[in-house]
Symmetry: none
Subunit: 296 residues, 2 copies
């Protein structure tokens, strides 16, 4: 199983024509036929069906094609990553985060410290939903991600650490009579219109808040679902309704929005750092070291 043979195989599988594939590979046709035959001998399975004038992939060939592409892509990625390190850029790191994270104390601090400690690392920031982050982390098209707890079947393939736990606060409009109180029990919100996190995108918070309300004895009247926390603040300012948000949302100063602690204790939301187990790059290891040391 040679990378060159895999490359040849992909060319033939894509062109479905030995001659064209050979031209694309800048070799002549006979050695290509020969290499494919060698590859087929090696795996012990026919990869193409040669029925006279035209060829087609066998089941085995169809199985191999995407895998061969993956192997080649990863080899290529390894090469460029190594070269980047060689040029002193010491690697690249793609970091995912949800919209609320930049307002928390943890993400800015980690970024700042990492940038100072490893100025050579090319740090790419990507705002992505929790779900997208989990999918890209498992597919290894993202190195590390910040998000809040959720349910997702791929989560168990990832390594996660809680890096911050912050209380949930009630955000409501200053004109609301309840805004004059010092703290509020959830039960006081029975009649309030609720802004909630989207069930499909922010499953964890959606379910958590719903469960809290039910425990307090009422089902919230949901007037709006949103994807990201900061959006909520805008809606609260616009008088659309009340919402439960992480304490760090207080960072966002919008006239007319008041934050109140809940009377209930222990109502909080975690911030997680997640990455794929095994095969951590040097840059990722360094990032994790900094992020986790600041986590307590």
């Amino acid at each position: 199983m040679d990378l060159r043979r895999l490359r040849y195989f992909i060319a033939v599988a894509e062109e479905l024509h030995f001659g064209r594939a050979a031209r694309r590979l800048h070799i002549s046709q006979p050695p290509l036929s020969q290499q494919i035959q060698t590859l087929e001998q090696e795996v012990g399975v026919a990869l193409f069906e040669r029925t006279g004038h035209r060829i087609s992939l066998t089941d085995a060939g169809r199985e191999l094609l995407p895998r061969a592409r993956l192997v080649l892509a990863q080899a290529e990625a390894a090469k460029t990553a190594v070269q980047r390190v060689g040029r002193g850029e010491s690697g690249a790191l793609e970091l995912g985060f949800t919209g609320s994270l930049p307002f928390t104390p943890v993400m800015p601090r980690v970024l700042h410290d990492f940038r100072r400690a490893y100025p050579g690392v090319q740090l790419q920031l990507r705002e992505l939903s929790t779900r997208e982050q989990i999918e890209r982390l498992t597919a290894e098209t993202l190195d590390v991600g910040f998000f809040r707890p959720t349910r997702h079947e791929l989560l168990e393939q990832l390594e996660t650490r809680v890096v911050l736990r912050e209380p949930l606060l009630l955000a409501l409009h200053a004109d609301n009579p309840l805004a004059r109180r010092k703290r509020l029990p959830l039960a006081a919100l029975t009649q309030e219109p609720f802004i909630l996190y989207s069930r499909s995108v922010s499953t964890g918070l959606h379910d958590q808040i719903l469960a809290l309300c039910l425990k307090a004895g009422f089902a919230p009247r949901i007037v709006q679902e949103v994807h990201e926390m900061p959006t909520i603040i805008g809606l609260v300012a616009a008088g659309v309704g009340v919402a439960l948000v992480a304490a760090s949302m207080r960072q966002i100063h919008v006239p007319g929005v008041v934050f109140l602690p809940l009377a209930e204790t222990g109502v909080a939301t975690d911030i997680l750092l997640a990455w794929k187990r095994g095969g951590e790059s040097a840059a990722l290891r360094n990032f994790l070291a900094i992020a986790l040391s600041e986590a307590k």
Copy 2:
């Protein structure tokens, strides 16, 4: 970037000793040094630091090690996956069957045994009429099918085997006076209302039963045509008429339906296994091996 070179690199990186790594790779030391140098030239970065007596990984080498492992592992996985498909241990198989087949002893047993022997094969079951199966088998949008004999011009393009021969029984309602007899000659049914198989969908059974009746000296009074055997049982139970059904229909226990053997001997219906000649996938070959070995 050759897979061999990556393998060599991993060995040296793990042993941190060219001699030991060479021994592990069953080659001598000089070519190993040479291959590592070639690899370093290829990526343009030093992977090891040779400081006199001992060597260590450079940052670039540390970056490469986990990635090289990943590439090799995935190449290996691709190989075994392809081989599994080649051996028919994985892949997909689409199986057609008519409505009466699940009640026969042969189809459930074959499915059970095949699933146990080749759990990796994705087995798709499709309830299809005999005609549809024949058309899809010749068009190769179906891999294999179970049905009863019929006339169809495309049949000669298919390979067929009889996997079970079962007697035809008379199904009639318990209230029918004839139901008290132990066995019945066909001639006793001259005046009975007949439920028959649709001429267009189940040509074989339709013609067979019509011929039997004519041979017994009467033309049956057909009150209803149906597409599938199990449907008949329901109609018999409803008192619509009498019918000839395969013995395995006795599996369907519906109150009010009585099954009686015919006085005539040798009145039976076959169950066929059919597939398209040539180009059998490995999974299909394995399926046929199991199905035909149980056919006797």
